[in-house]
Amino acid sequence: MSRLNINTKLVRRMLVGFLQDEIWKVGAKKAVLGLSGGIDSALVCHLAAEALGPENVHAICMPYKTSNPESESHARLVAEASGVQFSVVGITPMVDAYFDQFPDANNMRRGNKMARERMTILFDHSALYGGLVLGTSNKTELLLGYGTLYGDMASALNPIGDLYKTQVWQLSEEVGVPKPVIEKKPSADLWAGQTDEEELGFTYREVDELLYRMVDQRADTAELVAAGFKQEFISSIYSKVQNSHFKRRLPVIAKVSGRTIDRDFRYSRDWGK
């Protein structure tokens, strides 16, 4: 029995409550999210539908010409299962128009541009519907920095950012995410046949067990080695967490005054709510 096992009914209750409270208290009723066809956004979509009513959730699928057609069909499947509003906004014209000027751009630049293109569409629809943009990054990818800053990492609220991928799988079963979406291999879908685990070089289950001990239980290296993790694996994951930390913080502000935003000017975001 893994230590990562969670009481899914309890977590479902906490996350549905979180979405209701944090959205309603700012005077909004609606939410907007990108549906990729993957499990993370599918889970957020189901939670949002339960929290706000499916008619108040706008899910947008934003494929590029190289996206796997199965992704769009899975996104539709999720939208149908959860009953949310669904639309498709392709990003090929915008992305291609840009890279016509930079034809030598590599896959990373192209992937980041696509993620940021999708972000601008979501925030535009946020203004259109008066809904908050929901983040769909899980704790594993947030810790590893496996996401695009100001792209898929941008949102107003993220209900699943404190759940490891392994826990996302568990909760997805509980809320009724369609089976094919739960069972397929996780993929950023930037090119045909890409899978996260091949690109990362380890499985989510392996890294989640390590991250849980390292981050949540604050185990030191000796303890991790004793638990059976290889020294190189521990070091490489520690470096990934450390080197991606800038992605999890606001931009650094040079201090000049006596009271600098986020340094000694400190208020909760829910100030007055």
């Binding site: 096992n5 906490m14 944090e22 208290k25 208020y267 909760s268």
Partner: protein
Amino acid sequence: MDFSVALLQIKPKLGRVADNLALIKEQVEQAIVQKADLAVLPELALTGYFLKDLVPEVAIGLDSPEIDALKELSQRISIAVGFVEVTADFQFYNSAAWFEDGELKHLHRKVYLPTYGLFDEQRYLGRGDRFRAFDTKFGRVGLLVCEDMWHLSAPYLLAMDGATTLVCLSSSPGRGVDEQTLGTATAWRNLTTSTARFLTCRVVYVNRVGYEDGVGFWGGSHVVAPSGEVIAAAPEFDPAILQVSLTDAELRRERISSPLVRDENLCITLRELSRIDQERSC
């Protein structure tokens, strides 16, 4: 004396004193309608919890109109409530007040200010310096604010000072979900039930609900009998009013069958504490 307590498990708004006072009044009125004798609200019910730099902005003095309003309300029901207190020399405290018969009967300033993990209280607030039991219509009472309860000496001192009812006002964030339970909820229930049993006191625990910056306060307010048995509990995460009747018979029975408080030897405790203090000071 037998009495009925209403645990008002509310969802305060962060930094909105006027709105929260209105909510508290409405809830206390409801408790009056339900014929409760005592209404207990959570820690910082008047302000919300993660205040940070808002502390000076939401703090009220003991001569403020808000305190006057609560005094007035207490003509009809006794009230325990949490707020940020500012003193004449501009010290700020996480305080709990007991209002009865139109008066401020007792004020407790939170002593143990958690400053670790997700907590940062000592950065913004001053530390209280005493635990004192006090007499009420319902016998002798000890007030605690959240983290105070986690220091064994605090409920112990109150019980030694004669308290038979311990009232704990809390803003406890829910965290640590495993396969079975919510870690904080389990820990708190272990704490309140053990404290009640060790000290043969009733424990009234009132926690808030609602979310602040993603942190969900888990509610689950409850009352523990002097036997350590949970008599009644409010739901987790939802606002609620939980009304519970408490009898002297129950307290009497437990104090007869488990005379732990009678047998507690203050002299040994004091002597050993003095010795420890001396040895530490050397």
